[in-house]
Subunit: 325 residues, 2 copies
């Protein structure tokens, strides 16, 4: 089943996508309820909530299929991590292999298919990231990987837009990307429920072919398969749930796949080719079994200046005596 | 005005705290509306929404005053940043002085005053962080510092609980604290509106004395003043809003003040004294003009094992030829 959020006739509602037809559900239908339901219950729920006749997909506006409470972005593709670091001449940190690292994204910046993405203020090196993301259905905490599968309602595409120049200036401070990834997180075009993707399962990996296009042209380096994740979706869900609650609608992205962004090209070849994104460019992410997520870059504003850190006073501390000696 | 979220007689509602009395508002009263209102409108709104007679503060349970959509944690106190890094023998990164860095926190992990905090799975070095936080009222984007003040509805205390051992293993990878700060974010005891804190203003800084207590004993190193922020609250709000929307209820924390956590003691003195937090310990954060936020640490569970990164296949890429040469 494909679960979308749509605007149709001025009304925002949940809808079920079937081919090029869309079945709107009653306004006020609860996405969480749909995500939490088992596949068999989900079909009954949709029957009960269906409102009016199906409409053409082309007649509706797709919104982000979910407005996540939390959005974690992992880094589970070694090739991407290695490639991104190549440009600054450093190897993958040995700690990366020990645990699937993630950071939290700006959930206020979530938008959907076909929504414009503004150039972030001050960036001249805008990039995209091709990612697959799991959407939580059943809530949970402290899950084992073997239990985590039944907490995943489905999957969607995620574009983790990245201002490479803004990131470069802060990544070594250690807090994460700061303003480099604060401005746009696009999800969509819909959520494909986990049961529908079972045919793509290879062991504990979901093997979906993925690729990215800029202005309709596939990136010259080729795509990747989600089977190349160094941890499975079940494993990253389990890790997120370690000592922390997961709730329906939470989103966990797997991180950029191999060759899934421009930075890797720049770092591997030493040339800005393909060039950084500019207003007018359209980025399309495609994943087998899911569909495609397109967004156009539009002009932004100039940054408003902020001062550097101001020097401040210090209190006398017991350890001052130690450092004087 | 002091805005709280309370549970009273089994009902969760917004309430106004006045001394040791609490005025509950109509169930369903909208916190965002209250946060967005100008101070003069806010008083009228409370009159209109007041439900029943005031009750004793001791008779209600305080909840987190807000359930933020986004929670940013900055690092604006040089003394804390310097002290935290001392233990691993490194200086503050020069980039820290150029811009106020932040990361996003887990909003699912937000709780309030007196709620228990579970030991995070696998941590033996649990710490707290004493922080002041601004709560957004009026929404905004691309704000100048001079405009940002009127977008701040008020202030509250924030305890950014930190598992130092879990952080230590990942901070150098560059994504941020990962599971080191994923398990508990306590806010409270209430929001003090910005107008009420005007008497504490010194230029563009809010000068509130802050200190922390463990089991009722103030930390031996003394507290700090929020006047020692290297960027003002207006500046960190402006920076957050650069190319990104701020919404009512969003929370921006200033970061740990000087001497406001145990890590600084450990790093400055080379001894684990005061010791890492253990089940039973009560941490209390106190800020002038606001009040105090207390939480007790309780036992947690053991972590469920995850495998290391799995080696995966690679696609041939155009740049493979380059690196062979």
């Amino acid at each position: 089943m494909r679960i979308a959020r749509i605007e149709f006739d001025g009304v925002v509602t949940i809808a079920i996508v079937d081919g090029d037809q869309v079945q709107p559900l009653t306004p006020g239908a609860d996405l969480d309820e749909l995500l939490m339901a088992a596949p068999s219950e989900r079909a009954l729920l949709v029957q009960r909530l269906a409102a009016g006749a199906p409409v053409d997909l082309s007649a509706v506006r797709l919104l982000s299929p979910v407005q996540p409470k939390t959005l974690r972005d992992y880094a589970t593709f070694e090739e991407h991590v290695e490639g991104s670091l190549k440009g600054i001449g450093i190897d993958v940190h040995p700690g990366w292999y020990e645990q699937p690292v993630f950071f939290f994204c700006n959930t206020n910046a979530v938008s959907g298919h076909d929504e414009p993405v503004q150039m972030p203020p001050g960036s001249r090196r805008l990039d995209f990231e091709l990612e697959l993301a799991a959407v939580i259905g059943k809530p949970g905490k402290d899950l084992a990987p073997e239990q985590a599968g039944e907490h995943i309602a489905g999957y969607t595409l995620f574009n983790d837009w990245s201002a490479r120049d803004l990131m470069a200036s802060v990544m070594q401070i250690g807090a994460g990307p700061v303003k480099g990834k604060d401005f746009a997180n696009t999800l969509g075009p819909w959520i494909v429920t986990a049961d529908e993707l079972e045919p793509y399962r290879r062991g504990d990996r979901l093997a979906l072919e993925m690729h990215a296009e800029v202005n309709g042209m596939p990136l010259p380096g080729g795509g990747d398969s989600s089977a190349n994740m160094s941890w499975s979706f079940e494993e990253i869900v389990a890790y997120a749930s370690r000592g922390a609650e997961l709730r329906p609608g939470d989103v966990l992205a797997a991180g950029t796949c191999g060759g899934g962004c421009l930075l890797e090209y720049w770092a591997r070849t030493g040339r800005d080719e393909p060039p950084p994104l500019r207003p007018g460019d359209v980025v399309t992410l495609v994943a087998e079994g899911i569909g495609s997520l397109s967004n156009q870059v539009v002009a932004g504003v100039e940054p408003i200046d902020l001062p550097r850190a101001r020097t401040t006073s210090r209190r006398p501390r017991p350890w001052d005596a130690l450092s004087d000696s």
